[in-house]
Amino acid sequence: MKLGLEKILIILILIVATISISWQIIQVNHNKDEFMPKTSVYQKGEVVTFGKNLGYANWQAEGYEVSAKETRVLLPDEVEKEYNYRNKEKTDLQGFCIVCINVKNQSNQKAGEQGISAGLIPLLVGVNQMTNNFDDELFELLNPDIPPTTFGGFSLNEGENLDVYIPYVINNGNFTNSIFESDMDVLKRSNKYLMLTTYPERKLLELFERGEVNGDNN
């Protein structure tokens, strides 16, 4: 009888503790998303505005618009053959991911002062991997109309638009999940996005159309 009472008491304490802890966790989490950035994913071809959002590449890009055109995943030999260029600095180089975006200055009136640093736009691979390992020499080769600057920075006159090619360097160890994989395998297999803005709206621009096989359109 005494043992039964003890057991009931222990069970009661456990129930009360569980309810209290659960209640506390609910209270702590009830407004956890209040200041979190709102993620919006835009499809290839859609026009995305920077607005007043913060980002890695666009602290002063209000009035600019971007849309994704074409993404190519190339091996170093293919890049050498096509552009007569070989990156000699990067060790363990596996390839390149060259993203073409169309940038338009819709309403920014401060040309020459405000613009975009294309080399600072992060490339997202899957949900957990991100790079802005940018090749500035190849950027200059691919974008002869843009004067050489750091991190591919440029600005456009109001109403002007330009196709910009952003070359990301892929070296081994950034994306791999398994010792049997290479970064190129992961890059080809995963969804790829450009992270245009980060806060308050986190705008991700998907680089492939739905149904398009990633990395096979090169």
Binding site: I25, V28, M36, L124, N128, N177, I179, Y199, P200
Partner: protein, 287 residues
């Protein structure tokens, strides 16, 4: 019936309480450190400030990077993941040798069966070893979740979390609770299998304290061997973590956990357990 007895012995002995106590002390130390770190960083990011732009990295302030598994530099966390093999084995790993020494196991085998005895002992070892490793982490997680919100980690904060592309990493950024419990399950299974190694070791070594310390010494020596290996040019590009002292930590540290390597470790431990059972079935208990 024998299983119940073995479980009672495993969970009601001073060495189990000592192991669990040390684990809990580490867990509380990590919690206190992370709570103070959170309160400083919370002010830094000004979560409840007036301007929303002050909070643009608020996703860094998440329980998933402040619990012991996400903490890689507080004293509690470092000590806990360093000595876990010792704790997991100390809880009950000494018992089989002790029973062999006094002949108690012969009595139990004669009253039940050899299979029942070894299976009950093995299950008790598995559960006690796993519990000693996982319970302090679980308590730390619950304490952390009671004070720090469970915000969804974003990849932009990977430098803060230290989780890039290792074992289960995509889950961390999509379903972080599943990631955490995935690691707790892995830790439980690994510690349980490690505790079972003592059955095997006890067949060859008579001193129970050497039996308790041996798995820890082996893992420590293996870790040091790896660190020595990485000094050579040929091994510098290795990015996967081979040492359980590191890959069982949800945060991972410098190198990434790899599913294949983790699988090999679990397979080897499991096979050694199976081999032991086959071997012990044919053995004379009077030996």
């Amino acid at each position: 019936m024998l299983l119940k007895l073995e479980l009672k012995k495993a969970f009601w002995n001073r060495w189990f309480f000592l192991s669990l106590g040390i684990g809990l002390i580490c867990s509380v130390l990590s919690f206190i450190y992370n709570l103070s770190k959170y309160s400083v960083e919370n002010r830094f990011y000004d979560v409840y400030g007036m301007s929303p732009y002050k909070n643009h990295e608020v996703y860094v302030l998440t329980a998933f990077s402040y619990w012991i598994g996400g903490d890689f530099y507080s004293l509690g966390s470092v000590v806990f993941y360093f000595i876990f093999p010792l704790l997991a084995v100390l809880a009950f790993g000494w018992s089989y040798r002790e029973e062999k020494r006094v002949g108690y196991h012969k009595m139990l085998i004669s009253k039940t069966s050899r299979r029942t005895y070894y299976l009950s002992k093995s299950i008790a070892l598995f559960i006690s070893g796993g519990t000693v490793f996982v319970l302090p982490q679980l308590i730390n997680l619950v304490m952390t979740m009671c004070v720090i919100p469970m915000r969804l980690p974003l990849v932009e904060g990977s430098m803060y979390y230290g989780i890039f592309n290792g074992f289960l990493a995509p889950l961390f950024y999509s379903h972080p609770l599943v990631y955490v419990f995935g690691y707790l399950l892995l830790d439980f299974v690994f510690a349980g299998l490690l505790a079972n190694l003592t059955l095997f070791i006890a067949e060859f070594i008579k001193n129970q304290w050497i039996i308790v310390v041996l798995p820890f010494i082996f893992l420590l020596a293996f870790e040091q061997f790896l660190r020595l290996l990485y000094r050579f040019e040929a091994f510098r590009n290795i990015s996967a973590e081979f040492s359980p002292l590191t890959f069982l930590h949800a945060q991972g540290g410098g190198l990434r956990g790899d599913a294949f390597i983790i699988g090999v470790w679990l397979f080897v431990l499991f096979i050694s357990w199976i081999v032991y059972f086959i071997w012990v079935r044919k053995r004379d208990i009077l030996e």
